[in-house]
Each structure stands twice: as C-alpha cells, then as structure tokens.
C-alpha cells in the first residue's frame, strides 16, 4: 500500500520530463508538479565559470584616484607639491620640496582625507597609508559589487535560470544553462567596462611623430621605440580599427594624459542608435552631476580632443566643438550592431570595481549534451535488461520479484530526484546505473540466505522469514558504509561529482527500503494466497 503510493507520487513528479506530459489535460499541469528532472549543464549544454575578483586592484584604484584628488586639492589650496603618487598597494607618497610646508601639508591631508593615515616621512616625502579596516571593506565590497554588476549584465543579456553565486571569499560561480554563443557571453561577463574620458596631449612633440596606425604584431617594436619617450603624466593608448573590406585589424596609437577627467559611474543610460551611414553607435546619458562636470570640461577644452576610453582602449577621440550641455554624448567606433548592443549592456550595468580573472571555464555545446543523454538512456536500458534477465534466469520466480523491486527502485529514484529538484548530470546517470547493479545486492543476499534455509529442509514460510531476518543486519551494514562514501562525495564534490553522489545516495536509501520492506510483502502475499510447498528461487 505504502509502496504503491510512493510509486504513484514518484511518477507524478517525474512526468514533466517525459513526452507524455504535453498531452495531459490543463488541470493536471496546473495543480501537479511541473518541473521534472533538472538537467545539469553537461546534459543540456551551457557555461560554468568560476571567476576571481582581483580585489587588490580595487584598493589600488582607490588609492590612485585619491592621489589625483589630493593633488587637485593641494593645487587649489595653492600649496606647491612636486607629485602625489601611489607607491604601494595601499600607500601613496606626497613629495613636498619646501621642507617648511611639510607639516602643514600633512595636517591638511589628514583633515580632508580621513581614510589615510601618515605612515612615515623622510626627506621631502610624506607617506600615507590607507586604513587597515578600509582596505578590508573595499576588498569585501569589491566582490559583492562585482557579483551585483555581473548579475545585472546577465539579466540584460537574457539567460533562463542563471546561477550567480559567491563562493569562498573572492570567487564568483556563474552557470548559464543553454547559452549557445559562449564567446559573447564570456566577453560580456568578464569585461571590466571602466569608461573614462581623457584629454589628448597634443602639445607634446611626440604626438606628431606617432605613426597613424600599426599592425597588432608590431606592438612590441612600437613600445620599444616610443615607450621611453612618453612624457611624465602621459600614456599611449590604442584604438582598434577594423577594415570593413578585408577584416584586417590595425591599431591607432594616441598620446593621452593619464589623468581621468571623468568616469562612467555618472551614466544613467546607454542605448544603441544607428547613424546616418548605417553605422551603430552608443548614446549615453549622464546624471545631474555628470552633466555639469561634462559641461565644464567641454567648455574649458574647446578645440581640444577628448578620448573616450573603455578598459584602456580608445573608442574615439573627437574634437570638442562647443560646450556640451544636458549630459548627452555618443560613443562611436568601428563595431558591429551586436558589439554596440553588448557595449550598451555593460555600460548600463556599470563597471566592475576591479578586473576579474577566470579560474575555470567549462562550456558544453548543446549537441554533446544530447549525445550524452541518448547514450545515458541507452546504457541505462541495456544495463537494466541485462540485470533483469540475469536475475530471472538465476532466481526464477524470486528473480521476477527482485526485478519488480528494481524497476520500482528506478521509478522512485527518478521521482525523488525530481521532487528534490536535484540536478541530473552525466555522472548522475552513471550513479543511477550503478544503483541498478548494487540494488540487486540486497536481494541476492536475501535469496542466498533463503536458499540456505531451504537446503536445511525448512518449510517455505520459515525459510523466507529466516532469510530476511538473517540478511537484515548485513544489508544495513553494507548500505550504511556505501552511504558514508556517497555522503562524503556529496559534501566535498563539485559540479558533476555532486550529481553522482546525489543519485547514488538516494539510490542506496531507496534500495534499502524496497529490499527490506517491498519484496518481503510480495513473498508473504504469494505465500498466504497459494500456500507454496516449493519456492521457485
């Protein structure tokens, strides 16, 4: 009775995974479970990635930015300092040539930048370091923020049931089932997307001698030739140019000022538009502060060139024609509509607080997944048939009972997997198949014991009871030991292994139940109905 209900419930849970489900009436779909068995990434295809947030970079970025603000602040206070530079991962050095002003500078910085504490002072140098607690807070929030940003991006990209999770202190696990264009998805996730506006240095004599463009393979010789000539406070950044006809990629060097005058965190929106020559571009809108800042910058730099830089790549460097009010701007460059689309997504979702490093990347194409399912089902059926045949040949009627138990096992197991919304992976299928093999173990133990009892000349009823009684402890012991390994696998396993552990431990538990309760009931029923003189075993 209990068994019947269990089987029925299992079938109900399992139904959504079968073709039959689509033919069922609507009321069934409404009130009954509809999930079925969740397929793992290896079976339905998709991406599994582990990223690590380079938290130190977030700290370095903050120190770098603060150094710039300190310099600006001291300039505005008319205190001459030679330089403010980041000199360690969480340290910056202010060089004050005028020894008398040093104490004053130190006091002013302490008052206005409370996160930094004076560390040491030697010669003209004043060294400040970021507070310990602040370093920890920044590092921690870097991963949290990166997680949020990546989630935003994926939501906008549109993936059904993505999994985005923090793992350990600084790792992020991302699972995107069913994603086909893995390259695009990876670029979308991994891009730092730090948007910066920087002015070109057009006064330096170097700017005029730079070549118009170079091939990517020539980059090393280029850096060797020009790298040392770059003036202090400047850097060379490249624009990627793709020739529409030949698809050839070239890089155009720009001499830009290192100082970032504005970043992308003032953006409120980014949209793709199509220009008059049918080329896509991204128009961005800034918030109030951003718009004001942008207006001031453009007003001060008319006729100068402003580089729009994303992750250290120049997208365009237009000449500022006039003061720009309203906080609207455009990013043009040689990209396709899809690239423009993705750029708009990352700009809307915001920049990552620090770059991320890929630690692990598993991509399974949909065709492999289907192959695996087909093979898995084929192997399961074949294994099932082999075992069923073997049991019937070896144990006759008792074998048939054992086979019934086996089939019930399988149904309940798959039902349980669906009910617990466990994920079925390829190793999980292997685990199911293995339970078929190990599942007969308890029956074999019992049957061998019953045979022994019969050999001693006991009547059928006593022999069956004796067989079950004596095999009981052995079955419990052997199942528990296997369960221990399966449990450990579950606790320490990752991804596919976990799937294996789940189906194996469930299989063992269910098997224990059917072997000790299920088959005994059948034996007793047959016995009480026909009063067997001889048992077919």
């Amino acid at each position: 009775m209990l068994l019947g209900i269990t089987v029925l419930v299992s079938i109900i849970f399992f139904l959504p995974s079968t073709p039959v489900y689509n033919k069922l009436p609507d009321w069934w779909k409404k009130y009954m479970p509809s999930r079925g068995v969740t397929l793992g990434l290896d079976l339905q295809g998709g991406i599994h990635m582990v990223l690590e947030v380079e938290e130190e970079k977030a700290v370095e970025n903050l120190v770098e930015r603060t150094a710039t603000s300190i310099k600006e602040y001291l300039d505005s206070e008319k205190i001459p300092v030679q330089s403010v530079k980041r000199t360690g991962s969480a340290e910056l050095t202010v060089t004050v040539p005028d020894a008398e002003k040093k104490a004053d500078v130190e006091k002013k910085i302490e008052a206005n930048f409370p996160n930094f504490v004076p560390k040491e002072s030697s010669g003209p140098d004043l060294v400040f370091s970021l507070r310990e607690g602040e370093v920890i807070r920044i590092k921690d929030s870097a991963t949290t923020q990166a997680l949020e940003t990546i989630r935003n991006r994926i939501d906008q990209f549109g993936v059904a049931e993505p999994l985005i999770q923090r793992q350990a202190a600084r790792q992020i696990v991302i699972q995107l089932p069913g994603v086909k264009d893995s390259k695009r998805a990876k670029e979308l996730i991994g891009k730092t997307a730090l948007l910066e506006f920087k002015l070109l240095d057009e006064d330096s004599p170097l700017a005029r001698t730079l070549p118009l463009s170079i091939t990517p393979s020539n980059e090393e010789t280029f850096t060797a030739e020009y790298g040392s000539k770059v003036p202090e406070g400047d850097e060379i950044l490249f624009e990627r140019i793709v020739d529409k006809q030949s698809d050839e990629v070239r890089k155009r060097p720009y001499l830009v000022k290192k100082r970032t005058i504005m970043t992308g965190d003032v953006l409120t929106d980014a949209r793709v538009n199509i220009g008059q020559f049918n080329e896509p571009y991204v128009s961005i809108r800034m918030n109030g502060t951003g718009a004001q800042l942008f207006e001031r910058i453009t007003a001060q730099n008319i006729k100068k060139r402003l580089a729009i830089v994303l992750d250290n790549n120049v997208y365009s460097a237009p000449v500022i024609q006039d003061r720009i009010t309203g906080g609207n701007a455009q990013i043009t460059g040689s990209f396709t509509t899809q690239e423009a689309n993705d750029l708009a997504i990352v700009l809307r979702a915001g920049a990552l607080p620090a770059p991320v490093r890929t630690l692990q990347d598993l991509t399974v194409g949909p065709s492999l997944g289907q192959d695996s399912i087909r093979m898995g089902i084929r192997a399961t059926i074949l294994a099932g048939i082999l075992v069923i045949l073997f049991m019937v040949i070896y144990y006759r009627m008792a074998g048939v009972i054992a086979d019934m138990a086996l089939i019930i096992n399988l149904i309940v197991l798959i039902g349980a997997l669906a009910a617990l919304s466990a994920t079925l992976t390829l190793p999980g299928i292997a685990g199911i198949i293995l339970t078929i093999g190990m599942g007969v173990d308890s029956n074999v133990l019992i049957f061998e014991r019953i045979r022994e009892e019969i050999r001693q000349g006991k009547p059928v009823r006593l022999a069956v009871d004796g067989g079950y009684d004596k095999a009981f402890l052995t079955i419990v012991d052997s199942h528990v030991t296997t369960l221990i390994t399966a449990l450990v696998l579950f606790l320490f396993g990752t991804g596919p292994i976990k799937g294996f552990a789940v189906s194996l431990s469930l299989g063992i538990a269910i098997n224990l139940f059917t072997a000790l309760v299920g088959t005994k009931v059948v034996f007793d029923f047959i016995n009480s109905r026909w009063k067997l003189k001889r048992l077919s075993i």
Binding site: M438, V444, T485, L491, F500
Partner: protein
Amino acid sequence: MLEILGKTNIDFISKRNYAFLVSGVLILLGLITLVQVGRGRANLGIDFAGGTAVQLKFEQPIRIDDARSLLSDNGFPDAELQEFTNGNKLLIRVKQKNTIQEDVANRIVQTFEKGFSQNRFVVDSSTEIGPTIGQELQKKAVIAIVFSMIGIILYIAVRFEFRFGIAAAIATFHDVLAVLGVLYLLDKEITLLIVTALLTLAGYSLTDTVVVFDRIRENLKYRRRETLEQVINSGINQVLSRTIVVSLTVVLVLIALFFFGGEVIHDFSFALLVGVIVGTYSSIFVASPILVLWKGSRGKLLKRA
C-alpha cells in the same frame, strides 16, 4: 535451483601467502603512482593540473596527423590529441598552467577554422581550468578520501571491532591503490571523474568486505570449537555465491556503461570495472587473512555482536 557454485569448501586462508605477494605488488604499483602524482609526473587530467581541453565535432572525418601538424605549426606543439571515431570527434588538450590567461581555447578553435576551412565543425565542449582551481580540487579530493576512510573505519569499529575496521580499511586502500596503479600502467588520465570512480569502488569494496565479515562474525558466535582459520574459511565459502552473483551483475552493468555510456564516462566505467574485480578479490584474499594475522580475543567480539 540454478547455481553457479554449489556448496563450496575452498581453503582460501591457506593461500594467503600467494595473495599477499600479489597484493604486495599491486600496492607497490599504487604507491609508485602516488609518488609520481606527487612529483607531477603522472598523467593528471586538466582538472587537477590546469590547462585547456577542447572537443570539436567535424562534419567529415579528419586525419589526426593533419590536425597535429596544424596545431604544432600554430604554436601548440604540446597539444595532446585524441580521436573518437563515432561522430568525427577530436579532443585537444593543452596541459599548461596559464592557458586560461592566454585564451588558448579560442585560439585553438580559430586555428581549426582557418586550417580546416572546408570541413565545418561545432565546439562540443571546452574546458579551461586555472592552476588555483586545480590545486583546490586536488586538496578537496584528498580530503574526501581521508574523510570517507575515517568514517568507514569508525562505523565498522562500532558495528564490529576495531581490528575489523582496520582490516576493511586496508583492503579498501589496497583496492584503490591497485586500480590507481593499473590506470597508471595504462597511462590513463587521472581526472576528477576517476577520483569519483575510486571513491565509489571504495564503497563497493567495503560492502563486499562487510558482507564477508558479517558472516564471519556470525560464525564466531556459533562455532566456538573450530579454529579461527576454519571459521573464517567457512564464512567466505558461505557467502561466495552471493559475492560472485553480485559482482557479476555489477560487471554486466559496467560493461553496458563502458561500451554505450559515451566517451565522457568511458574511463570512469573502466576504472570501476577493474575496481570490482580487485574489490571482490580483496575481501576474500586480503581483508579476511588480516583477521587471521591479527587475532584479537573472541570473547570481546561475542559480547559486542
């Protein structure tokens, strides 16, 4: 009543010296493998060693030599190639620690797009694993093995007696080491899946040992006049047909997996296949003889059982 074996009375225990010799060789082989793994000389899969694996499915058959020369011309002289003839599949592995930064997977795909432009293909799967993850997985695998061993020894020590637990653990270790050694000899790749297979077979071999021990324990209660050797021998003989029947069904199942389970679990089922054979052998020839060597007192066991 169909029987593979009738009532048997084989003297297993007297053959223990041969068994110890065979097992000694197997264990030694396993230990050598462990040392090689530690030295980084064994054939570790990319999930432990770090690296990149790309599996491509072509429309037309390809010659593996062409693929190899194409790869070595394009900067991958160390790529390992493996062909799966059903479905024109090619597996390319590059085992280097920093493949993930260098975007090796993408570069391999591009290389084939250019080199085999007439033969179209799809990327079946691509796996890139950085060195930190590899080390983490290695650590986790070791922890998993250690914890399951401790758990099992404890359980058997509680249910039986301490020496039974130790004997079972030794037999299980023996099996894991033996299979590891065989895999090493055949130059099979040791992947996360293989470790799973090893743990599964540890579970299986234990089940097997527990069944034999259970019968020995029972016999110890009722046959107090016989010598320990006799008791153990008859215990093994009594469960022998069960042992054979179960091993046979599991082997049947594994054969189905081995031939029809697809390339992903091919080595997995192979490891288990070897494991079942070794596991059956060890519960008879390794675990039980240890009980003879390490006698312990009968009285204690009787009270606990």
